[in-house]
Symmetry: C3
Subunit: 214 residues, 3 copies
């Protein structure tokens, strides 16, 4: 691939990654504030939301060091974000912030699903397992956040496709890597697909088929 294109893609990836981590951390801050946690609790929930999915994936794949250990400035950044949120956010801002966060969150969903799938493929996992690892990377931060806050995880309950978009993106990554063997293209295409699906789902209020064992 043209080195300039590859350079641009890698910069884009870093920027999306930071924006998405911030969006995940903010979702933790908002849920924690709603549950009236103290400032320590809010910070912990922000960390779980931001780093929980990737950390669980790395534990399951037995990869060390974790990305937030290798780049420990990520931890400083989330700490700084918590302080800024506590200083500037007021209750009336919460819902607004939550709505604004949907879009970086959708980007993060796509990027983390695609990169999680790729990391699992590189670790020699079979295709289906790699896709599940991608889904887990993208989704389990929010799941841990909700479990600690004593809620049934939103991702399992609100009938709007979330994990399903991640699954589609991961499946595309596996398909492309298996056919034309271009990791960069696989990552970009998988991430864009999952993000687009999620954005469409938000925009048009898609719902998963209901089943409540009627």
């Amino acid at each position: 691939m043209n080195p300039l294109v590859s350079q641009t893609l890698s910069t884009a990836q870093t920027i999306i990654e930071m924006a998405a981590t911030a969006a995940f951390a903010l979702s933790g801050i908002i849920v924690g504030a709603r549950k009236q946690l103290d400032v320590v609790g809010i910070a912990v929930v922000a960390f779980l939301a931001a780093f929980g999915g990737g950390t669980l994936r790395d534990v399951l794949l037995d990869r060390r060091p974790f990305f937030w250990v290798a780049n420990s400035w990520y931890v400083w950044a989330v700490l700084a974000l918590c302080v800024m949120a506590i200083v500037t956010l007021r209750r009336r801002h919460l819902t607004m912030t939550e709505r604004a966060m949907q879009w970086p969150d959708a980007c993060g969903l796509g990027l983390f699903a695609a990169s999680g799938t790729q990391i699992a493929l590189d670790a020699g996992m079979p295709g289906l397992i790699a896709v599940l690892m991608g889904v887990l990377t993208a989704v389990f931060g929010g799941v841990l956040r909700d479990i600690v806050c004593n809620e049934i995880p939103t991702a399992f309950r609100d009938h709007r496709p979330y994990a399903v978009c991640a699954f589609a993106g991961g499946a595309v990554v596996v398909a492309i890597e298996r056919s034309i063997e271009s990791p960069t293209f696989a990552l970009a295409f998988g991430a864009v697909l999952a993000t687009t699906l999620r954005a469409l789902a938000i925009r048009f209020d898609w719902e998963l088929p209901r089943w409540q064992a009627k």
Copy 2:
């Protein structure tokens, strides 16, 4: 041991394992449906119930690959089971299904406790730790299922012996391996003992001695 007997036992083990994994996954589907999760949530809870205990054991023992990675058709099977359940189950079937599942569940309790204990012994764990690993293998799938569904785990609360049966089976495995050193016999005897105890407990409604710090 006679090769024919050993062959038969190993086939029996595989069949019980599949039936028990299906029973654990179905318990997750039923709990998820009762909590009105969406289809993704139901599938995740089914996975946690089916694979959670063995995965946690493997993380604690630092064993890789997980059994559902080495045999990824297990994951396909649970996915297929979820689809079948969603297509065929109706609300009025849930309680009936739950009752029918008690028996394969009891078989799984015995088999997973005994095999979990044996795996931990092979990894060089001391006897007591190995028994606890067996209990954890058999019980923690259900515990994770209930935590995600925002319930206090049934296994810790319903006063009927469940983990205790697994503990007894695991202890027998350790005792037999330490005395006559026959792994096959230890596995078979431990599994049968735990399953029998559990079946008796269900049949005669045994209760653990109560203590609520009166």
Copy 3:
């Protein structure tokens, strides 16, 4: 360092460790009894409270064997403690026991935060990550206990400094190891600082600055 002093410190550490583990286990027994768990559930919650934090730290650092595997008499001791509690405790004792446990709990908070930080530094973690591992060692036993009992963790919610004391102790350990390179002194000073802060917080009813996104 004078060998006599070093010997005395190491004995003191062992005694504090045992007292603190007992205090953590008892906190699990009390929470479990209040939630009306059965005896198995109470024992599991006691184990989670006593060993959960250190085990999670060891999983994240990829250290094996766990301390309760290397010293499996710890498991016997917690089992014995559960039996003793069930035989001797009555409901009217619970609150009294809880208050009495605050002090060994504060000692454990300090010791586990300091030793957790040191273990992470020895494993080559950067300073901030090591401090977080210390906090996690001291705090996550209680967090897991509360999650299993379907509560929002006390440590995140009661506005009294707990994790913050552990953080201060861990930070001092890092500072001393980086400057004068005396592990024994770092451990002792960090543990004493965190314990003292926690004791003052209990005694004078300190509160964290409130933020509920007013």
